[in-house]
Amino acid sequence: MVWAWLIPVLSFAAVPLIILFGKRLPGKGSPLAILAILAGFAIFWVVFAGFLSASPDTDGCEIGVGTEALTCNFQITWFEAGIPGADTKNHDRIEVAWGMTVDPLTVAMLGLATFVALMVQIYSLGYMHGDPRIDWYYAFHALFIASMLTLVLADNFLLLYVAWELVGLCSYLLIGFWHERPEPREAAKKAFIVTRIGDVGLLVGILLLWSQVGSFSMSETFAAVESGVLSDGVITVSALLLFLGAMGKSAQFPFHVWLPDAMEGPTPVSALIHAATMVAAGVYLVARAFPLFSASDTAMLVVATIGLITALGAATIALVATDLKRILAYSTISHLGLMMLSLGAFGYTAAIFHLLAHGFAKALLFLGAGSVMHSTDELDVREMGGLRKVMPVTAILFSIGALSLGGIPILAGFWSKDEILVAVNKELPVIFIVLTLLTALLSALYMARAMFVVFYGRFAEHFEHVHDAPKTMSITMGLLAVFAIVFGLVALDLPGPFKGIGYFIFYHEGHGLELVAWLAGLSTVLAIVAFVYAYLAYARKSINLEGTRGTFGWALKVAENKYYLDEVYQWTVDRVVLSFSRFIAWVDRALVNDVGINGPGDVTRVLGDRLKYHVTGYVYTYALAMALGLVGLAIFWWLVSR
């Protein structure tokens, strides 16, 4: 288990090697990145096995503060500053550890991240085949996954923040990977800037906690929360500030606008970064800091409300979007919202369970969309139809992902979504469960729409000569599909030592699978109705949608324009941000530069201009000045000596 640090380090090591020698290596260095993450995936199993056999007596392990789950910490001092030997509580000394923590949450994230990254990197061999900059692509990928793994392993907020910014950087680099076209450039900048707004909150929150606790260490912070050292106000404010960072990264309303645009990046990037791992970092952060969040009712309610707004709003947009990748992007936003909602409803297990199940299914869907795009060069679903004729493998695998995410029973998405419904029903007012069920219905509906419009129904003749995905792509999708099908079974109390995910990832106390009959039944019925309706409407065309379109015209228009949020942002930037910037620029130019910097210079020059005329060049002027000076001095002496 001590070797967990090796998982990110291997991928970190691959980065400079690929950049320096990639051009001369076989496959332009791509095998290096894949080998690094493959080794990381292997070490993950060693760590997992080590963790399962560990007990609170094991070296470095203890029952974690806050979560009450087994937590193992390994750390070395990164740097210290201040008065040697002083107490860190008084801020006379600061000590930052380069450390990692291995607990159930970390193990789960490690497994998801290494597996999806491995699949996506192998998939990319096919998808990015022939790209001239494939060495950079794999270097960025290796850097991303190394940062992501550091993020989930970090045992203190400062290290987490460093990794947090690094994944943001990699996201920027990979969204803008095809920077020859203007759209990816703009999208990359948008993603970077929008998430940065949240990151400022995160940084301020971390510093606020440090100022109160005297340490960046998470366990010490949570111990301070539990022991009541922190006031309620500090807990609420710092939790909300951390949540601001999580909102940016996890694309929560109103910071979700960057994620749909991020689809300009290569599709495997969308699958890895913008579906399964990086965008889940916000959810991970809230889960990691759950002892802090759960201590503040206000923070929990904010998390739940933002989550619900995001989930419902994004689901409605996904229903009317016409770009296949953007449908999936809005679906991702919606599901991230559901995870946040679940966390806000104290559904800790449910949120992480859904994070994992959604990660597998959504990565599969993105890779499926990538396969379609790879073959057809088309992303507008209105141009597609009946593609299962020419791409049967992709069609089947995509359908599995869609059914899983839509919540069809037995598949992974059903179990995790149901856990969320149970948590919401138990903890939050009735309006929340109603809207969550509506979101679940919409979620099934848009997944069904994407699946039926693209792969079923009337065949779009102009795709006659399209070929199916190459092996590297179909095999990786197949492996992800296996997880999208069977992963839900970890919720069950299977024979053997594993008693279900509820006893592995839990907060305070483990619990088995909770099934509320009417909720499970209702969500199943909703999902099946949605799929059947979508089949009839989009594949068989036996339901005419024009009538609905007429009735809900205005609502459709609002949703199709993404609730005009991009326009609101544009207006804010143009009117508020730019006006303010212009004012600041004026202050800089007029006050700082003209008065502060040039002012003394101008005064000196003008004074010199005026005063130079007393220097006549005639000797007698100087003689007179000397004589007068002498007289002056004499008078001065006389006055002084009197």
Binding site: V615, G617, V619
Partner: protein, 106 residues
């Protein structure tokens, strides 16, 4: 014995005449001569003061006289230097009129 104040009046008069000469004359040679006048005014002042204050007896103080001799030496050197400069000036500009030599400005 001539009172000290008479020497001081003479010295001051000579100094004033010299100062006037430095400022009013146009010829560089006359300016140098006026400077000599001022230096000699100082000499008179020094010697008079020295001999008047404690010039009597065995332990007379010769400070004033010594400084005066120094001044005479320096004045001689100064005249030599000054005349050399004026000579160069005349060679260059064919004049020793300081009104026409006002290069020492901005």
């Amino acid at each position: 014995m001539v009172p000290l104040v008479a020497f001081q009046v003479l010295s001051a008069a000579l100094f004033a005449i010299g100062l006037y000469g430095v400022m009013a004359r146009r010829s560089a040679v006359l300016i140098v001569m006026s400077i000599e006048l001022m230096l000699n005014a100082v000499n008179i002042n020094l010697i008079a003061a020295a001999s008047h204050l404690d010039g009597m007896g065995k332990w007379a103080n010769f400070d004033g006289q010594i400084i005066a001799i120094f001044i005479i030496t320096v004045a001689a050197a100064e005249v030599g230097l000054g005349m050399a400069i004026i000579l160069r000036m005349y060679r260059n500009r064919s004049t020793v009129n300081v009104d026409e030599i006002n290069l020492m400005k901005w």
